[in-house]
Symmetry: C2
Subunit: 147 residues, 2 copies
C-alpha cells in the first residue's frame, strides 16, 4: 500500500461511512478446530458503470480485491486480517458513523488471535454476534460448536 | 455554515461518493411558466439507528434539513440552490466517483438562471434528462411543455 495523506484518509473514512460494510462471518467449516472459520471483511459496493473511477479509488488502497457480482454490482473486498487492521487504523481517526463497528472489529481480531479453548471461542462468537446489532440485521442464528 | 478544513471537505467528498445522491427533479406545476418546477437536490441517506452521529455529520454542513422517512431511513436534503452550489464547490476538488454529476449539476444550475424562453427551457430539460444516464435509472419520461 502507498503512503496515504490525511486528505486521502479522510476521504476513505467518508466513503466507508457512506458506502462501506464492516462485518465478520462465521463460516461453518468442519476442518477448523471449533467447526467455524472466522472471516472478517471490509467491503465497498459500487455500480459497475463507475468501474474506472472505482478502480482508481481502490487502487489508492491496494489492500483488497475487486469482483463483479452477477447483478452488476462491483465489490471491493478487504479480507486479509493484516490488511483490515491496517485499513481500519488508517481511517479510524476520521470516521464519524462507523466508530463502533471499527472498535468491535479490532476487538474481535485481537481476541481471535488469543483463542486457546472452547470457552474463548464461545466468547469470540458472542462478540461476533454483536455485529448484528450494529449492522441492523434482524436475523438471529443458533450455532452448535464442534467437537 | 462553518468554515471547513480540507480534512472535513475530503471526508464529505468520500461520503458523497459512497452514499450521496445528486439529481434534479422536474416537477409538473402549472403555476410555473413552462409547467415545471426545476428542483435540484443533494441527498444523503442513513439508517435511523445512526441518528446521533449522522446529525453530528450533517451539523458540520448546516446546509440542509433532516427528515425521517416512514421506513425509518434518515434523509439529509440540501435543496436550496445556493446551498447546493456552496456544497458542491467545497467537495468537488476531493470527489473521485461523482465528478460528472457535479459538473452536470453546476451546468444545469447555471443554465437555469439564464432561461429566457421555451427553447432555453427545452435545452435545460434535455440536460436534466442526462442525469438519468449518470444515475443509472432506466426510466424514460416524455413530457409536454406548457403553454
Amino acid at each position: 500500500m502507498r503512503k496515504l495523506s490525511s486528505i486521502q484518509k479522510a476521504y476513505l473514512a467518508g466513503f466507508l461511512d457512506g458506502d462501506g460494510s464492516i462485518y465478520v462471518r462465521l463460516k461453518p467449516n468442519p476442518t477448523y478446530k471449533f467447526g467455524f472459520q472466522v472471516a472478517p471483511y471490509v467491503i465497498f459496493f459500487q455500480s459497475a458503470k463507475d468501474e474506472k473511477n472505482f478502480q482508481k479509488l481502490c487502487s489508492i488502497l491496494g489492500l483488497g480485491y475487486m469482483r463483479k457480482r452477477n447483478d452488476g454490482i462491483l465489490e471491493y473486498t478487504i479480507g486479509r486480517a493484516e490488511a483490515i487492521a491496517e485499513f481500519l487504523s488508517l481511517v479510524k481517526p476520521y470516521v464519524i458513523l462507523k466508530k463502533k463497528q471499527i472498535d468491535l472489529m479490532q476487538k474481535i481480531m485481537c481476541m481471535k488471535s488469543l483463542v486457546k479453548n472452547k470457552k474463548d471461542f464461545e466468547a469470540l462468537m458472542k462478540l461476533i454476534d454483536s455485529f448484528r446489532e450494529l449492522n441492523y440485521s434482524k436475523k438471529r442464528i443458533k450455532r452448535t460448536l464442534t467437537p
